[in-house]
């Protein structure tokens, strides 16, 4: 079977080329149909309860994602509160409204907000805060002072210090934020030069901009990495023609995999955009092993086909194992509850399988098809380099030293593990999409400045909700009121109820409203006893309806007030806003305008009438961002100064304690919503999910190793480098204080897949050489020749190949670049230095076991047993 596979490309090279070209073009043609999805919300499945609630909340309270535009002026003594700056702000405020995708009626800014104030004794006034830009400095300051008196604006639209202004731009859809923010930037750039600084930020902008830049990086970083890898391989193998084959394998693997992903209708999410970057090293690794061995063996075997056959025969088993284990590592991601991660895992695994097949089929066919001339140059050049040149000498020396210093190496490893363990305990699980940009990025700068100036650009909502439906209760109160009434009245009441039901189904209206209307008409149109009966019913219905309005009840408002005070005492919460603030502000202006009247009225009617006044402003609908029209659901807005998941979690934890100690009034339930909160939900699932999948993969790989090597001892040995690599890299992350975020979490599967590779190659080769030599010392010496060089070449190619990622402006790409280098360095060093030391210490265990294992294997085609026959 294996022989057939090995012979196929040698005999049908042309067929392999055509087949690969057809596949690549076929799948590649799906790529232009790419659907980009950069919404982190999609990290949660469509039916995740938190996501559903978040979207219900947005719908219920007409909430939209917000772009924050801050204006800061450090040069003027009054900040932006001077006629020139305010004129610019006014123009911006007006022009924002006509940007496509902006919800004009909900734009928050000084020109589009109302001022409620006293206008002389006994008089109240509603007017635009800044209908026209002020003409004098005094007018500018008056605007500032008016805004600072309004709790809804203070800290939000106008900074606490009264020097900066922020506009909040609601948008129809998050995936428009990058374009809209660019249009805002264009408006701002058209202003004359001044000391006004304009900053644009907000979670939707960060998320969408990240997506845009991510795709730029896909077009820059991945090809750049490929180029560096190509150059490095050229340097190692001295034959451009030869090293082109791993590149072709890598490129076609990436093209076919991405084509398959896009073609099967999946969106390309932040995760899947990293597939090319992950697949490239994996695809290259196998071919590098092949080439490395080929250039070492070829000079001894002038027959090209025989040489290739020997090489592929030697490497078939280890390459199959490494592909299977790496694929298992990524397939384990299918265990996570996060849809984009599952898609990512499945397609990387698919790509790994593909890369293996292509390496086995394409590379041999390619080498066979190369003109003799090209290989001749390789032959002559390679002859001097058959000891591997500098790299070879280093590897050999390292090997010799590591054997001599086996004990110290083991001790050093133990120390490194201990330190790594400490590092892991220090790991900080945290994420924040804004931090996916480097600190110098515009969005990060804006984020820093605006969160210093204002109450916070991150919003979360604590929604208080009355669980039951009020309508049946109101109708029931009517039923009760007609109990003692005449038959005629009761019969009419029943038909009124039926009519009201029908009406409420046919058009937008409440049963209770329709009933009250009908009953009040009857009370008016009838006389005497009958009229009185209807009046009683009307009163009962009205009382029940008034009582149903939970958030007009002063006690409930007082609870919200307490909750807000508790939240605002937390350092991370810059400000909170609720219906209670609206009520208190309007009440203050209705009564005296003085601070002592900044309070909740004593009666439900007082609250209702205060709110009726608020609704007589220019923006009555602002109320419905805070409370539902039936007053049974209310949202407390929390403005956070940080969007770090950790910070959001700590705010939630603190308020959960408060809610537990001070339960909300009966029937009320508190729940969280908002983008800042939602990010913590998927992070939580991700971290838990990743750990689970890593554990799962670890166990699976361990089992695979024991089965493939047919030896528990070899199985354990194979797990050592990857265990140490994972511990070391994550220990490093912990010690360096780098947050364990989404990219880091995903890298764990790559670590597992890549670092087991070297161990497999090493152990497999060591075992076959040992079988040949019968002596471990001699085996090790041979291991540090060509097998050691192959590992070293691979490690260097991948580690350096991904260094260009460090130059990307996106932090996750830097992280991947750095970790990739670390994984390669650690796993190759551990494999080459630690494994021999351990193996030398336990050689007595290794050999007898192997004898038994070999004896028990009857099948001569069993991979591990067959290798040697071919090499000899």
């Amino acid at each position: 079977m294996k022989r057939k596979i090995l012979d196929f490309p040698l005999q049908h090279a042309r067929l392999v080329f055509i087949g690969l070209a057809v596949l690549t073009i076929g799948f590649g043609s799906a790529i232009p149909g790419i659907q980009v999805d950069t919404d982190p919300e999609n990290m949660l499945s469509e039916n995740d309860p938190d996501r559903i609630f978040h979207n219900e909340t947005k719908e219920e309270f007409s909430l939209h994602d917000l772009i924050v535009v801050g204006v800061v002026n450090e040069a003027e003594p009054e900040g932006v509160f001077n006629p020139e700056s305010l004129a610019r702000i006014h123009e911006l405020n007006e022009r924002l409204k006509s940007i496509d995708g902006v919800i004009a009626r909900d734009v928050l800014g000084p020109s589009t907000m109302d001022n409620i104030e006293q206008a002389g004794p006994g008089t109240i006034r509603f007017e635009w805060l800044m209908e026209e830009p002020p003409e004098t400095p005094e007018e500018a300051i008056a605007i500032k002072e008016a805004a600072l008196r309004l709790p809804m604006l203070r800290g939000t639209v106008v900074s606490e210090d009264g020097e900066s202004v922020a506009l909040y731009v609601p948008i129809e859809s998050k995936d428009q934020s990058h374009r809209i923010s660019a249009e805002i930037r264009t408006i701002v750039d058209s202003f004359d030069a001044s000391a006004d600084e304009f900053y644009i930020t907000g979670l939707p902008v960060a998320e969408d901009t990240f997506g845009v830049e991510m795709f730029k990086q896909m077009a820059i970083s991945a090809p750049l990495a490929a180029l560096v890898i190509l150059l490095l391989m050229w340097w190692f193998f001295r034959s451009f023609a030869l090293v082109l084959s791993p590149m072709i394998v890598a490129m076609t693997t990436v093209t076919i995999t991405m084509g398959a992903l896009i073609g099967s209708g999946f969106t390309v999410h932040i995760m899947s955009s990293m597939i090319p970057i992950f697949l490239m090293p994996i695809a290259v690794v196998d071919s590098v092993h092949l080439l490395s061995e080929f250039v070492d063996i070829y000079p001894k075997h002038p027959n090209r086909k025989a040489a290739i056959k020997e090489v592929v025969g030697d490497l078939f088993a280890p390459m199959l194992y490494t592909s299977l284990t790496s694929a298992a590592g990524f397939l384990s991601l299918m265990l996570t509850p996060i849809p984009p991660v599952r898609v990512f895992g499945a397609f990387v695994a698919l790509g790994i399988g593909l890369a293996f097949v292509l390496t086995i089929l394409f590379v041999p066919a390619y080498i066979v098809a190369l003109p003799e001339k090209r290989l001749a140059t390789l032959l002559s050049k390679k002859r001097d380099a058959s000891d591997g040149g500098l790299l070879g000498r280093v590897v050999a020396a390292t090997g010799a030293k590591s054997l001599r210093f086996a004990k110290p190496i083991l001790v050093a490893t133990a120390v490194a593990i201990a330190i790594s363990g400490y590092g892991i305990s220090k790991i900080n699980i945290n994420d924040n999409p804004v931090r996916w940009f480097k600190p110098s990025h515009d969005i990060r700068v804006a984020d820093t400045v605006l969160n210093r100036e204002l109450a916070g650009t991150y919003t979360a909502f604590l929604v208080m909700k009355q669980d039951s439906d009020s309508e049946p209760e109101i109708v029931a109160s009517g039923d009760e009121a007609v109990e003692g009434a005449s038959d005629a009245v009761r019969a009419q009441w029943s038909s009124l109820k039926a009519d009201a039901e029908t009406e409420s189904q046919q058009e937008a209206s409440n049963v209770s409203d329709a009933l009250i209307e009908a009953v009040s008409d009857l009370a008016f149109d009838t006389t005497g006893e009958e009229s009185e009966q209807w009046q009683r019913v009307q009163t009962a219905l009205e009382e029940a309806q008034t009582a149903s309005k939970t958030f007009q009840n002063p006690e409930h408002l007082a609870y919200i007030e307490r909750l807000q005070r508790e939240a605002e005492a937390l350092p991370l919460v810059g400000k909170t806003s609720s219906i209670a603030d609206v009520v208190k502000t309007v009440y203050r202006e209705l009564i005296s305008g003085e601070e002592q009247d900044y309070r909740i009225p004593d009666s439900t009617e007082g609250v209702a009438q205060t709110l009726l006044q608020f609704q007589s402003s220019h923006r009555p609908n602002d109320l419905w961002h805070l409370v539902s029209p039936d007053y049974r659901e209310s949202a407390v807005w929390m403005q956070l100064k940080s969007g770090d998941n950790q910070d959001m979690m700590s705010v939630k934890a603190d308020l959960d304690v408060f809610l537990a100690a001070n339960p909300p009034p009966e029937g009320l339930r508190a729940e969280w919503a908002g983008l800042t909160y939602l990010n913590t939900v998927w992070q939580d699932e991700m971290v838990g999910g990743m750990l689970e999948s890593l554990m799962g993969a670890f166990v699976i790989v361990f089992l695979m190793m024991m089965i493939l090597f047919r030896s528990p001892v070899y199985g354990v040995l194979a797990m050592i480098p990857l265990t140490i690599t994972i511990m070391f890299t994550y220990g490093l992350i912990g010690l360096a204080g780098k947050d364990y975020d989404m990219p880091v979490a995903v890298l764990s599967s790559l670590t597992l897949g890549l670092s087991v590779d070297f161990a497999i190659h090493f152990l497999e080769r060591a075992r076959s050489i040992r079988r040949e030599t019968g002596d471990w010392t001699e085996t090790m010496a041979l291991m540090f020749q060509e097998p050691g060089r192959a590992i070293a070449r691979n490690a260097i190619v991948i580690a350096i190949g991904f260094l260009p990622l460090l130059a990307a402006p996106l932090v996750p790409y830097n992280t991947v670049g750095f970790l990739m280098a670390a994984i390669m360095a650690v796993s190759s060093i551990v494999t080459v230095m630690l494994l021999p030391s351990i193996m030398m210490q336990i050689q007595n265990w290794l050999s007898p076991k192997e004898e038994t294992a070999r004896a028990s294997v009857e099948d001569p085609s069993a991979p591990l047993a067959t290798n040697k026959e071919q090499t000899t």
């Binding site: 006034r125 009726l612 007589s616």
Partner: protein, 269 residues
């Protein structure tokens, strides 16, 4: 853009001139837009000398959620097209019952407005501001209820159809208004508007007031159902007027601050 508009206006002017001979056939048609609007103002806001009515408003938001307001209203005119007084007393929802507004509308200066909130036992004057604030949370503006002074806009007769005049009104000052212009379709016989469309600075129609039903009450054509729609949010308010009575002889002396706390029951409903 501006030149374009001018060209367009010129074209309309030419078209109007050309069509003059046919229009002459209908001798009754008015040609002066200002006169049409001024008669509309009187037909809509100054019917009879005084009147009372019960108004029910249903507010429906873009999501189909509804709220109601119900109030009685008394009106007495001093002079057609001139000063008039209003008293508005709320009946529903129950938690705002007896909330009352007193408005002394002036043709040549800002209106005097008072407010009574029984839940706070408070009478308050409302200072003049622009009149395009919401009327108690409905999609109507205060100005839609009390009437916009015709001389605040420049009127232009765009078209005269068999049944309607089409007038474009452009504010003389953009201060205090959110529209760039609005177009009125006015019934030639009753002079009641059938449709008013508001267009914003971006040239987009964003608000619509439609007369759904007109009844003749005591010989006076009266709008009994009016709908205002917010075309951007999809919300609307439906206003139903019932129990309309005219020329009751409502005395002027009930339109005083003391009536806010003690509404003249005799005249209400």
């Amino acid at each position: 853009m501006r030149t374009l508009t001018k060209t367009w206006l010129a074209a309309v002017a030419v078209a109007t001139l050309l069509s003059t001979p046919t229009m002459a056939a209908e001798a009754a048609d008015l040609k002066d837009a200002s006169e049409i609007v001024s008669r509309t103002n009187i037909a809509q806001y100054y019917a009879a000398k005084d009147g009372s009515a019960l108004v029910r408003m249903k507010i429906v938001d873009g999501k189909g959620r509804s709220q109601r307001r119900q109030f009685a209203v008394l009106r007495r005119d001093k002079k057609d097209g001139g000063d008039q007084n209003y008293l508005v007393v709320f009946e529903q929802p129950a938690d705002v019952r007896n909330t009352a507004f007193l408005v002394k509308k002036h043709a040549n200066k800002d209106d005097d407005r008072w407010l009574y909130l029984p839940g706070l036992d408070l009478v308050k004057r409302i200072a003049a501001s622009d009149e395009r604030t919401s009327f108690v949370g409905t999609h109507f503006f205060y100005e839609d209820i009390s009437g916009r002074q015709p001389d605040e806009d420049k009127h232009e007769l765009l078209e005269t159809t068999d049944t309607e005049y089409v007038v474009k009104s452009t504010p003389k000052s953009s201060k205090g208004v959110e529209f760039a212009h609005y177009t009125l379709r006015i019934n030639k016989k009753t002079f009641l508007p059938s449709k008013i469309e508001y267009v914003n600075a971006q040239g987009k129609a964003y608000r619509l007031i439609e007369t759904v039903k007109v009844d003749t009450v005591e010989g006076v054509p009266t709008i009994t159902r009016l709908k205002v729609s917010d075309l951007e949010s999809g919300g609307y308010t439906l206003s139903d007027v019932s129990h309309v009575r005219y020329d009751l002889g409502i005395p002027d002396d009930i339109f005083v601050e003391t009536s806010l706390r003690n509404p003249p029951q005799k005249w209400l409903r």
